[in-house]
Structures are given as structure tokens and as C-alpha cells.
Assembly symmetry: C2
Homo-oligomer: 714 residues x 2
């Protein structure tokens, strides 16, 4: 069980505060814009957005008003994800009024709960006889899962257990039903509850919840296949009125999960399930299940993932298709799917400590997830194409699912609150801890507290990422009596000072060396607390250790003698890894690690099996994928071709989109010889041209226009 | 009304016999394979094909058996198009047994007709109260149109009027209904009946039919919009249970037809409507309507047509989208839509005499329509992509509508019998006549009879097209008492010999000079009937006139003195035109015109606004578009890029696909530097490679595999 005990953990969100130029903006968006805006939407008070009906449905279910249920069967999840986001937000930005609003919402949820613990407004209000009568389409378990996640989040941040108890009653009911004979083969149509049940188990210790999650995963795709045969049950209720037959592959129920080698079906369902599989692999120390997770991860990342971390290539059924099928304009790449991919990768990274999962998580978060939300926080992409030509995104065509501009809300609004809860919980992705070690996953400027041998340690990260490879990590023991308000004091700091002043212990700082870092340079400076010689420019000091890591990621010996040991995790030189830096901890010693690396913008080629990208290049700089927009380059981006020989010019533009890197590539633009003709034997001319690129995450913040990530190579 | 009287006419199909290597094969397929096979399908006797239910529905409607209607609302049209095809087939290949089968089918139709003349098995059997209660979805008028076309065809070929009378009764009922107050704004949901009504008028002389066709066109898109508001009528009947709202644009009912400037909506509906508009423009000498037709034609050909003559870019709703939106892999390009385009263009060519319409008609017929049918005549494409990767054509994805192999039949089987009737009536496209002139549209080897000043003239065309630019046209007066069996004697030859023997008259031979013809060379040889000096190699004889037409299509003066005048039709030198050759007619003079031209395979570029084709080339030779197939080139055609500098090698391969041209282009193939990675900073290598091309019309006759028309340009 040693392997099991090695799982990394996230720092509790009330112990970490994010504050840097890049991510800080999004955190402020969550508190200042997204949460208030989405609350208004949930209450149908935003006149130019799609009505949500969400609160209204709860009010009807609670008997507070009369009316009819409106919206999708999973409409309740919008409130659940909003509460989860609000909880995370309260962790780093206490807000009495917000907390009161959440408390009131939880009261409403409680009133809408049935005497037996059942909670789901669709079935309570609209289809009371239909409970658990259509698991494929009913989304009751999916909805319950999100409610459980929200309840756990709110409990963990506030300590209030009202919502937790509501959801435990629902979970108890689910256990009764799904461990009963009638439902012994029953599984969720849309996975998610497995994640919620594991979280509920972890805070309550009730193993029945864990066992139900395990049962749902173990039963899936096993004969008799409940979902595939459900329609034949005499009490089956039609929910979607979908004339298509049930497609087991669509819901990953075509074979037992451990036998699944390729990511298939609905992308969000898939990655939510893989996340639960990872949780269960850890909880049950199930190496076979863990291997299945890794196989599925490798299939996604090696054959089915967009360079932006988008997944789900088919607009119809929002699903995976086949290896190397990565069309750029008609794809789905749902924001929620990339969120799910990040959830899955975070779990895998914490279990395996393998940097590759962190890398994919970062790609998904920095590109597709961020692209899902406007810089003003008030509009959202559900679908994330890599190539957009607004003219052909017509309603009632094959391209109708792709939108040229972010929408204020959606009839099916899973993505906006999902983005909110993801951004609000960024701290859970940024760093991980285990005993006396801290793992720096993403270079997010933040300050957090952790315990080393029971003593509180403060880690402060300053970062110029994602635009520049410059990170400063300051580590110090928390002084007795130090102001606890920032980061805020939590229940776990009561033993401050348990370690004797001046006693020497070590923190193991596991610094991520990402694959995009070239010429990594690490300097470690330990100094007396009163000494001010360490700093951005002062790290060649007496006690400092400078180390260079070559482009292949192999560390060479430090220049000066040092007790520090550096070792390489991962086994492929061209891949990223974690480097361990042992840092002495004492009241009179603060340590600063400065990590600098080159991160030149570079051209990236897709595997030639990717038909859609053949002969094309994309540009990345660090974790960010770049894109060309019409506003910077004129219309018809397809007419441009890149001369890669001419390189990439980089310029940080403080005035652009709140400050971002703009890249310039050089090449040619096609000019028709016979522009009046649709087809001509005369080859078009090529005239020299340049193309300006901005981060894909920031596209479509300056009005509607064409966009492309992949560009033809000259 | 002079303009009106100038409309060209097709030669009656019993006066023309097609016999050349290329098209002859298809004619034999119609008689030997397609008609017998499709008859079996219509009778549900092909076990591995989708059941048709078509004859069964008629038998139920006729009261011959009990049962339920099955299939689409327009299922009757499969029989209609089959009878139309059979009629055309009987014109050139008399077949007593086939005729008897058709007669029996017509009896069945007659029995299925209601006492008031109504004929439609769906509404008679399944929804008797629903007649004309849902014009948008009911397809009653569409179905009636195809039945009318079939009835007219059978009458014209056989002289039998049983079916014609059946359909006149239906047409009379339609006139009563749609000229009544209740339906004064009624129009067909799916256009087609307008074509049938015009044909019915032309054989019966009943102007009410013509007026109803005109009313349907005039009413369309005019307020009050019947189709858009139909759902509000108290007696509205739901047919499709489609949750989407009615989309006027989809059915070209969003504005009056004369105001429509762009082709929009469902492609088949569109071109069927444009065909009827052309018919009515001629019948009513309506120049405004004719201009609308030309505008719509120009929009299609200039902005929305694939190089193969395919139209309808969106898989969803089988519809036009927007200018220059021509995706190659997900398009619809329904076979029926290209058939409709050919129908429209034939009408426009006959009205305006403009070669451009002939050119488009030929493109559609030689590429998309022929690609719609396998060389064995037993399987069909409904959707005609220009790029296929079988791996990603998965069910329940955005690509599900595209098939990698032709299907034996379809639940919605409009295309197979539509191909049959089109091929069987090829003679109507190949040549046109007007008074003393004959217009050679397509270089189809055939023999036909026409009248010049009342005297029968035999024209025999031998052609090496579409693979070689060599055509021989022999013209002679029919001798008195000459065997009439080939071409078969018809009712219009009774005045043979009305012209005095030896009297000098002239035939105006309007020879098409297509835009793909380079260095056109025309030789005219008139000789005594007993003289054998004229021939393939003997056209530099005493009376011969040799003429060269430069690449720009401008004729220069003949080398020897001649009474012949050559003039250019059309006004753009780079476009095709018709050249007039006046041919003396006398019993003792036969004339042979030999037309030779260069037709090198060439690279074609799309307008750079076509995002999907940017940086790509296609290869055409004459009217045929060429395509690369996996079977000749290995997998991953996208990895290939063409070096256009290396030219195109041509080779006629008698052993390939029954004899066809194979082209070879040269270039490079991408080879991954890091094949195990999905994305890499290492540019792929390029290794020299060649790509073999075959006519697009012949693709997928050698098993499943990748195919592409557009190739990346090096």
C-alpha cells in the first residue's frame, strides 16, 4: 500500500491565494463578474440571455410557487456548479453576502428534497413516476453527482454541513436503490455521480458511497448491459424522444471499462468516467484500473486531442471519433470536455507523479478552457473550433453547432458554470503537496501554506508565465504569531510552532521542468531572514547554487559544492519532468528558488496521419497555442502560408487584450490571377505577407471574425 | 415572340441511338442491369438491399392486399422515376417484356387512384384525412410531379395514354384544389410538380396545367406565405414530427422567386424550381424570370458549385450554404441535385443557346451523376464528397451522411431511379435541334434523325471523348426507302422524300467548341455519296475545308475558298462557344465534319476565397475531373503534395475499369520525423512520390479506400 499512500494532494483552497497578472484576472472575474452574473442568469433576470429556469424549477419543486418545470432534465446542475464555484470563491475571497445567497439557495434545495431524500426538480415536478425509469436519458445520477460535489465544496470551505447532509440523504437513497436487486446492474447514463460519491466518501468516511461508485464503474459495459436493454423494461419512460437506438459506445458502456483501450463516445462522459476510474484506482489500489486510465490517456493525447487540449471531434453527439481525425472547423471540443480532461489529468498526476499528466492538464486549461470564457467574463464558448469562418456558421446546416462569437448563455448551459468552478479552484491544479514535498505544477503566481513535520510553511510564487519563462519561489517557515489573515487562517494551523525554532528540517520542492522550457536555469538562494541579499537579481550570492539544465532536460552538477541533489523524473529527455530541490527550513533561513528558462515561440507540426493538418503548422509559445485573427490580418486567413524559415517575431503588447504576447510570422498570401472565376487553370500569385498571432485563449475578444490555429506551410 | 420561337428542342428519344465506348456502357447498364435490378428492389425482392415497399404500398392502396404503408411520404416517386427510365429505355431498346411490366405497373397505379383522381399511396393508405393538410412536409405535389413526368415519357415513347390520363385526372384535381379560395396561396413544399405540369401541358395542350405551374412559381415566397403559416391552420397534420421551426429559406420560399439572387436551401428543391422557372420563362416569354434564372445559375457556378458539378454543401438539410463554402469531405452534393442542375442547364441552354449552360450540364453529368452509380449498375452514391477517408465516416457522428462505398439501396431512394432516368434520356442532353440547325452539345457517339425542310436527315457522331478530343460527324439525307429500323421509325417520318431529290438545302451544324478544347481543328468534307474519299484520314480532299481555331477560340479564315461561314457564339474568349458550319444537303452529297482538339490534362486552382481548397490543385482533362484513390497510391493521400512543375503524365489504360485514362502527377510525400508523436516541433521530411489519378466518375469501383480530388500543391 506504499504506492497508494504516495498520492499527492491539492492544497486546501482556503490555504492558497492566486495573484498574478495572468491568472489573477480570471480569479477576479470569478468573484466580481461570473458569480454575480450567473446568479442573475439562474434567476432569469438577464433579459438578453437564454432563460435558465433553474431557480424557478427549484422553487416549484419546493412548493414555493406554482408552475411547470422548464429546461433540460439536468437543469439542476447549473445551480450545483454555481454553488461549487461560489464555495471555491469564498475560500479565497470571503464574501458574507455571497455566502448568505448560497445558504438561501441551499435552503431552497432542502425544501425541494423529497421525504425519502430524492432531489431532482425535473422528476419531482414534471415526471414524478419516472424516477430511475430511464437511466440512459434521465441524468438523475449525473445531476446528483454535481450536487454532491457542490455540497462537499461548500462544507470544506465553510464547514457548514446543511447541504452535505442533504446530499448524504440522496446518496443513501441511491445506495438503497442501486444496491437493490431490481437495480443490481444499473449504472448512470451520464457518468459524474462516481466522482461525487468518492468526494462524499472522503469527507464523511462512509464507505458505502465509495462502494457505490465502484459498483457503477465495475458494472459498466458488463452483461447484462442495463443501459442497452433498459428500453425493454415495462416501466421504461421516454425522456428524449430520440428515434435513434441506444448506442452503447456513446456512453462508454460497450465493454467493461478496464478493457477499453480507446477513448470513445461522448467526450464529457468519457473524461468524467476516467476521472472516477482514477479515484477508484487509488482508493482500491487497483493497478489494473490505473493502467486502463493510462491507456485511455495515451489514446487521447497520442491520437485524438487537439493541440489546444480540445477533445470530442464530432459535432453530432459531441463525441470522440477515430485516431487522427482532428478536423479544425467542424469539431466540438466542448469546454466541459477539456475541463474533464484537466480533472482526469490532475488525478493521474497526483497518483503517478508523472509530469505528462500535468502537461496535458496545463494545455487544456490554458487553451480550450480559457477560450471558453470572454475576457469580460460574461459570454462563453461551448464549442471550441481551431478554425472559424463566420460566414459558414449558418443555422440549420452541418456547422450550426459552431458559434462565431461567445454566447451569453445556452439552453444547455453546462459549460459556463463549469468554467466558473474550474477557475475558482485553480489552486487545486497549480500545486500539489505530499508530506514534506511540494509539487509546482503550473507556474501560477500565488501564496500558499503547507505543513512540513507539522510546522506551517509559506510558499510564495511569483511568475511571468505564460508569456515569459521566469518564476521565483520563496519558501519560509511561518513565524509564531505571524498575521494569519493572508493567507487566511484555517483549522489546521493550531499547532504552529510545534517545531522548535531554528530546528533544521527540509522541504522537498518538486519543480516542474516542462518540455517547452529550453536552457532551464535554476538558482537556489538560502539566506538569513534578516538578510536582504536574495532577490530577482541577487541569486549569485554566497549561499546560492546555480544550476543549468540543458535543452534535453538533463541537469548537470551545480557549480559550487552543495548539499542539494537534483534528479530527473520521467524517462524521455524530450518530455517534461519534475526536479527535486531540497530546501532547508529554519526560522532564520528563507530560501528563494529562481527558475528561468527560454521559451521561444516555435512551429509545431501534426503527425502526418492527421489529414486536416497535413502541410500545416501551428505556433506555440510555452503552454499557449497561438491563433491568427481576422481583426489583425484581414479576411481569408486560409490564403496565407507561412515561411517557417523566416522565424517568429515576439512582442509583448501591454495595450493588447489587457496585456499579452503578440507573435508575427512571415510568408505569402495568395492573390487570384482570375478573381472572377471559381476555378481557373491560372495559378494564384503569391505576395509577401505577415500574420499576427495572439493566444488562442484570447481569440474573439475583439468582435466577430475569422480565426485559425493551423496555417498552411509555404 | 421571336426569342420564344428560338428555343432548341431535344431530339425525340426514339430518334436517337447512343453507341460509343464511354456512354454506351451506361446505356447498356440501364437496360440490362439498372431497370431489372431496380424493379426487383421496388418489389422488395433484393434481400441485401433496403426494402423499398413501393409496389407493396400501391398494392395496398389498390385494395389488392391488406397491410400498412411503409417508407417515406414520397415513396411513390421511386416507381414514377423507374417508369420514366423504362420509357426512355424502350425508346432506344424495345423490350416487349419490359413494356408489359410497365403496363401492369400502370394498371396498378390506376387501381390505386381515388375516384376523384387523387393518387398518392401514403395519404390514401396511411393518412386519408391528411390530404393537402401539410404541403410543407407531405410531398403530395412533388410526388404528383414525378408521376406526371413518367406518364408523359411513357406516352411519348409508346403512344399509350393510360398513364397520361391517370395523371391528367390528378392534375385536374390539383387545378381544382389549388385554384380554389382555400388554397389560393398554396404552393408545393418540395418543388417538382411545376416541371410535371409543364410537360403535361405540352403534350395535352391543356393550358390550365401550365397556369397552375405558373401560379405555384408566382405564389412562392409571396405574402401571405402559405408554407410558413400552414402550421397555424386548424386542420394542419403533422407528418415529419420535426421539432425545428419551418425554415422558408430551406424551401426557397423566403422571397419571391424573381427576387432571389442566390441559390439557397435544399439543393434539389432549388434546381427543380429553377428548371420550372426556365420552362415558364420560355412559355410566357418572361424575360424577368429568365434573368432570375441566369442570376441563380451564375451564383451556383460562380460561388457554390464543386468542380465536379456537385451542389449542396451542407450534410444537414442537404442544402446550399454560402459563397465559396465548399468543404470537400463533409459536403452533401446529392446525386439528385446534380441531376437537377443538368435539367436546369439543359433548359437554359435550349432557351438561350449559351454554351456556358451546356458546359455546366456536362460537368454535372460526367462527374457527380456518373459517380453516383457503380460501373456494375447495382450500387449508388447519394452523397458525393470530393475527399473521403473511410475511417472517419462513422455512424452517429457529423460524418455519418457520407458513405465510403456505394449502397445497394436507400431508405430514401430518390437517387438510384433518378440516375436511371437521366442516363436513359442522355440523348436529350447530347444534341438539340431547331429548324434547320443541330446543336452538338456533348460529344456522345450516336446516330439520330432530324428534319430539315421536312426532309429527314441522318446525323452520325463518332467520338473518342471524354478521353481524347476527336469527333467525327457524318451528315446525310435519308434515302427514300432506306431501312427505318435504325434509328427506329417514328410517327414524324411519314413525309420522307417531301424534298425533291438533289435539291440543295443547308443544315446548320452548331458545333460546340468547349473551353477545354485547345488548338481546335475542324475539317469539313463534302463528297458524292458514292465517293469514299472522305474519312478519318482523308479530309484534306478536293472539297474539304480545313479550319483552325486558336486556343482562344477565335476562328481564322479557312485556308481555301469556301462558302462556309464560322462565327463565334458567346462573348468571352476563354469560354466555350458554338461554331456554325453550314452543310449542303443533297441526295448525292454526304458531309463529314471532323473535329479534333487538344485536351491536355491540366491543373486547376480554386478561387482563393474557397478556404477548403487554398493551396491545393485539382486535375481535369476535358470534362472529367480526376481523383486519387488509395488503391493506386496507398493510404493517407493528404500526405502527398504535387509539384506542378513536373507536369501530368497521361496513359490510356484499356485494362483499367473497362478502359479509362490514368493520369500521373509527381511530387512529395510527408514522412514524420517523430512518428510516435501527435504533435512535434520537428518538421516532417518530404520524399519524392507520384500519385496516380483516375476519373472521379469511376472512383470506388475497386473496394473501399481513401479518395481525394484536391491535392496540396508543393
Amino acid at each position: 500500500m506504499e504506492e497508494k499512500s504516495m498520492r499527492l494532494e491539492s492544497v486546501p483552497l482556503n490555504k492558497i491565494r492566486i495573484a498574478d497578472d495572468f491568472w489573477g484576472r480570471y480569479m477576479r472575474l470569478v468573484t466580481d463578474k461570473i458569480l454575480p452574473y450567473q446568479w442573475e442568469v439562474l434567476n432569469d433576470r438577464v433579459s438578453d440571455a437564454e432563460p435558465s429556469h433553474c431557480i424557478s424549477n427549484f422553487e416549484i419543486a419546493a412548493g414555493r410557487k406554482k408552475g411547470e418545470f422548464q429546461g433540460f432534465v439536468f437543469q439542476d446542475t447549473d445551480l450545483a456548479k454555481w454553488i461549487e464555484a461560489a464555495a471555491y470563491s469564498l475560500a479565497f475571497a470571503p464574501d458574507h453576502k455571497l455566502e448568505q445567497t448560497v445558504d438561501e439557495a441551499i435552503e431552497l434545495i432542502g425544501e425541494a428534497q423529497c421525504p425519502d431524500g430524492y432531489i431532482n426538480t425535473y422528476f419531482t415536478v414534471k415526471e414524478p413516476e419516472g424516477r430511475f425509469k430511464n437511466l440512459s436519458e434521465g441524468h438523475e445520477l449525473y445531476t446528483a453527482g454535481h450536487m454532491m460535489e457542490a455540497a462537499v465544496a461548500y462544507y470544506e470551505v465553510t464547514g457548514k454541513d446543511r447541504f452535505l447532509k442533504i446530499m448524504c440523504r440522496m446518496a443513501d437513497l441511491l445506495c438503497d436503490v442501486f444496491f437493490s436487486k431490481a437495480y443490481e446492474h444499473g449504472v448512470p447514463g451520464h457518468q459524474e455521480v462516481e466522482i461525487g460519491l468518492v468526494k462524499l466518501y472522503r469527507v464523511t468516511g462512509n464507505r458505502r458511497y465509495l462502494e457505490l461508485a465502484k459498483a457503477f464503474i465495475d458494472r459498466r459495459g458488463v452483461e447484462p448491459n442495463y443501459l442497452a436493454t433498459e428500453k425493454l423494461r415495462p416501466d421504461w419512460v421516454d425522456v428524449f424522444h430520440n428515434p435513434d437506438p441506444y448506442i452503447p459506445e456513446y456512453a462508454q458502456s460497450d465493454e467493461p471499462v478496464k478493457m477499453q483501450k480507446t477513448a470513445r463516445g461522448h467526450a464529457v462522459r468519457a473524461v468524467y468516467m476516467y476521472s472516477a476510474m482514477a479515484d477508484l484506482a487509488y482508493e482500491y489500489d487497483d493497478q489494473e484500473l490505473l493502467r486502463a486510465c493510462e491507456t485511455l490517456y495515451e489514446d487521447i493525447v497520442g491520437k485524438q486531442m487537439y493541440i489546444t487540449g480540445g477533445i470530442g471531434q464530432s459535432g453530432l453527439y459531441e463525441r470522440f471519433t477515430t485516431d487522427f481525425d482532428l478536423p479544425n472547423d467542424r469539431n466540438y471540443s466542448e469546454t466541459c470536455a477539456s475541463i474533464g480532461l484537466a480533472l482526469f489529468c490532475r488525478r493521474m498526476a497526483q497518483i503517478t507523479h508523472d509530469e505528462k499528466y500535468v502537461s496535458t492538464m496545463e494545455t487544456a486549461l490554458c487553451n480550450t478552457v480559457l477560450a471558453g470564457i470572454a475576457l469580460d467574463g460574461e459570454s462563453f464558448f461551448y464549442v471550441n473550433p481551431l478554425e472559424v469562418w463566420p460566414d459558414n456558421l449558418l443555422p440549420y446546416t452541418s456547422m450550426a453547432h459552431v458559434k462565431a462569437v461567445r454566447q451569453k448563455w445556452f439552453p444547455c448551459a453546462c459549460c459556463p458554470p463549469n468554467i466558473a468552478r474550474t477557475l475558482a479552484s485553480l489552486g487545486e491544479y497549480a500545486v500539489s503537496v505530499l508530506h514534506d514535498s511540494v509539487w509546482i505544477n503550473m507556474f501560477v503566481g500565488c501564496e500558499f501554506e503547507m505543513k512540513v513535520c507539522g510546522a506551517p510553511v509559506i510558499v510564495k510564487i511569483e511568475s511571468a508565465m505564460p508569456f515569459e519563462g521566469k518564476v521565483k519561489i520563496a519558501v519560509r517557515k511561518k513565524r509564531t504569531g505571524e498575521d494569519d489573515s493572508e493567507p487566511s487562517e484555517g483549522s489546521q494551523t493550531e499547532d504552529i510552532g510545534a517545531l522548535m525554532d531554528g530546528a533544521l528540517t527540509e522541504l522537498s520542492l518538486m519543480l516542474r521542468i516542462p518540455s517547452y522550457a529550453k536552457n532551464s536555469r535554476i538558482s537556489v538562494c538560502t539566506k538569513d531572514a534578516d538578510d536582504s541579499s536574495c532577490g530577482n537579481s541577487g541569486y549569485q550570492e554566497q549561499n546560492a547554487v546555480a544550476l543549468e539544465i540543458s535543452a534535453t532536460g538533463i541537469g548537470r552538477e551545480p557549480e559550487t559544492g552543495s548539499r542539494q541533489s537534483f534528479r530527473q523524473h520521467g524517462n524521455d529527455h524530450s518530455e517534461g519532468s519534475f526536479h527535486e530541490i531540497r530546501i532547508p527550513l529554519a526560522y532564520d533561513h528563507d530560501t528563494t528558488v529562481i527558475y528561468e528558462f527560454d521559451m521561444p515561440a516555435e512551429f509545431i507540426y501534426a503527425n502526418s496521419n492527421v489529414r486536416a493538418d497535413a502541410g500545416k503548422v501551428a505556433v506555440v509559445k510555452g503552454p499557449m497555442v497561438y491563433a491568427a485573427e481576422q481583426i489583425d490580418n484581414g479576411a481569408n486567413l486560409a490564403a496565407f502560408e507561412v515561411d517557417t524559415e523566416q522565424g517568429i517575431t515576439e512582442e509583448y503588447r501591454a495595450d493588447l487584450l489587457g496585456g499579452c504576447m503578440m507573435l508575427t510570422v512571415h510568408g505569402y498570401r495568395l492573390v487570384d490571377d482570375e478573381p472572377e472565376k471559381l476555378y481557373s487553370a491560372a495559378a494564384p500569385k503569391k505576395v509577401p505577407a505577415v500574420l499576427k498571432l495572439i493566444p488562442y485563449a484570447y481569440w474573439n475578444n475583439r468582435g466577430q471574425g475569422e480565426m485559425t490555429v493551423w496555417m498552411r506551410k509555404h
